[in-house]
């Protein structure tokens, strides 16, 4: 067990440092003069070469790649994201402000996805092939096919413009989060419904079930002890992947709904070549992924003890 946890942590560490180096290298070698971009973002005017060189030296862009990398990584190890080259302010408070908008939205979307998909899939699989089942599959297919930005605009059109029930733009009240959360959540619900449904159907076909069917084991126990755990493995996998798509969707949705948040934060940082901002978002995203994968790995092992065994 300790060996397992150690291995998983080591893997996490490799992914994190790889991501850090790769992002830094990509940004460092991106076309265009970063010093000029930063200077323009900072002063919002055309500038002389002197000013640009001054910015270059100040931000540390005149150093070698590795010097600059270590200068960034060192403080990062103590969770110090440094200062923004553009605003000069520390990165963390601004990043935290964005997170405080984005993470609740992401959790709301995942929650909506689960609240819709779990009951829908369970109802659908009560009688496979029934009208309800086909309705659920159809709904899920449509949901999967609709892009988030289109759904977002349609929801704005219906609920904000026509019905005027909900606000469309901004993030000043909790009501502002409803439409963006729905936009993301419906997509999550669509793919989860499909995977939970097929997971349950497949789990019901497990070969050992006839051996216990007439032994007094209730349908409920069969569902709980045999069907649900087997169906859970693909669901857990997809749930993790869903989180990845969600981060991608968040960028779009935040822009559509004019919400502050990680997506908006990242787009602005990229446009103004704000290295420390971009890197902070990427490292944070990688950290989220690593933690999610770690948790998923551990859940797998709880569900199926064969997973991760060296002799399996």
């Amino acid at each position: 067990m300790i060996k397992t946890a150690g291995g998983l942590l080591l893997r996490a560490l490799v992914v994190l440092s790889g991501t850090a180096i790769l992002t830094f290298a990509l940004l460092w070698n991106a076309p265009g003069d970063p010093a000029q971009a930063i200077a323009m973002a900072r002063f919002d005017a055309l500038l002389t070469d002197e000013v640009i060189d001054q910015v270059r030296a100040e931000v540390g862009l005149d150093r070698s790649f590795w010097q600059a990398f270590w200068a960034w990584l060192g403080p990062l190890l103590t969770l110090d994201f440094g200062n923004s080259a553009v605003t000069g302010r520390p990165v963390w408070p601004d990043l935290w402000a964005s997170i405080s908008y984005t993470f609740p939205l992401a959790f709301a979307a995942l929650g909506i996805g689960l609240i819709i998909s779990v009951p829908l899939a369970i109802l659908a699989t009560k009688r496979p092939g029934s009208l309800l089942d086909r309705f659920a599959v159809g709904l899920a297919s449509i949901g999967n096919a609709i892009p988030a930005y289109w759904l977002g605009l349609i929801l704005i059109l219906i609920f904000a413009v026509k019905l005027a029930w909900l606000p469309a733009l901004g993030a000043s009240t909790p009501a502002h989060a409803i439409l963006p959360a729905l936009t993301l959540g419906l997509g999550v619900a669509a793919s989860l419904t499909r995977i939970i449904r097929s997971g349950i159907l497949e789990a019901r076909g497990q070969p050992f079930l006839p051996a216990i069917r007439r032994r007094g084991v209730s349908d409920r126990s069969v569902g709980r002890d045999h069907v649900a755990p087997h169906a859970a493995i693909p669901v857990v996998t997809v749930f993790g992947l869903e989180l990845a798509f969600l981060l991608e969707g968040l960028v779009l949705v935040e822009v559509i709904f004019g919400r502050p948040g990680l997506g908006t934060f990242l787009v602005q940082a990229i446009l103004s070549r704000d290295f420390s901002h971009v890197q902070a978002v990427v490292v944070l995203t990688a950290l989220v992924f690593v933690v999610v994968n770690l948790v998923i790995d551990l859940i797998y092992r709880v569900i199926d003890p064969r997973i991760g065994e060296s002799n399996a």
Partner: protein, 241 residues
């Protein structure tokens, strides 16, 4: 007593079982022999009540068989268990579900009878041999003392030595426990050696049903005679008459 009367099972337009009737008294063994596709597995599913017959009836002592909580021993020993659970948990599942309090030492006695070390039960199905998994499957079938046990090709996944061994253990336990056994097999030698009665299933119909010895001596239909002679030629059945 298991009573199957005028059982018909249709799947779509295809008749998989037609006019099946027989009885199996408590404590006795009926061996159902037939080639692949003869309807053996369908018969098991119908007796367990896992599929709805088109017509006819299957009862145990006058009530639906499911009330008797019949047990099933499956063909593929490892696939017969939830792969993520310990054998012990799977074996005890019917006991827990039926809320039975086992007589003291019953598990140990059955384990001894099946030559299964007790600590083996804490392993998962992939951590024991096929033969051990099959004996664990038999243990699960017998643990809650069912009056009727169905065996679906119980030996076919085992090697020759293990087959003989397992067949002997099944017979010994049946003598002790007194359950009625319906054994589906394609091995006529095994059927004749261990069955009180033999039923030959062909294309969903019972071709012949007879006492095992009578059948071995004097099969009535041409098909059954061919079957018997083939088994003798293969050495699966000792030459008789």
């Amino acid at each position: 007593m298991l009573t199957v009367s005028d059982l018909v099972v249709k799947r779509g337009p295809r008749v998989t079982l037609a006019d099946i009737s027989f009885t199996l008294p408590a404590g006795k063994t009926l061996a159902v022999v037939g080639e692949s596709g003869a309807g053996k597995s369908t018969l098991i599913a119908a007796i367990l009540g896992l599929l709805r017959p088109s017509s006819g009836e299957v009862t145990w002592d006058g009530a639906p068989t499911r009330d008797a909580r019949p047990a099933l021993v499956m063909q593929e020993p490892r696939a017969a268990f939830n792969p993520t659970m310990s054998l012990r948990r799977s074996i005890m599942e019917p006991v827990v579900a039926q809320n039975i309090s086992l007589a003291g030492g019953r598990l140990e006695r059955l384990c001894a009878g099946l030559e299964l070390p007790l600590d083996l039960l804490d392993r998962r199905p992939d951590q024991v041999s096929i033969g051990q998994a099959q004996r664990a499957g038999i243990l699960r079938a017998l643990i809650a003392s069912p009056p009727l046990v169905l065996f679906d090709e119980p030996l076919s996944a085992l090697d020759a030595v293990t087959q003989k061994h397992t067949a002997r253990l099944i017979a010994e336990l049946q003598a002790e426990e007194g359950f009625a056994a319906l054994i589906v097999t394609h091995d006529l030698g095994y059927a004749v050696a261990h069955g009180d009665q033999i039923a030959v299933l062909k294309s969903g119909r019972i071709e012949e049903i007879a006492d095992a010895q009578d059948f071995a001596l004097n099969p009535r239909s041409d098909y059954c005679r061919t079957l018997r002679d083939a088994a003798i030629a293969l050495g699966a059945l000792e030459a008789v008459a």
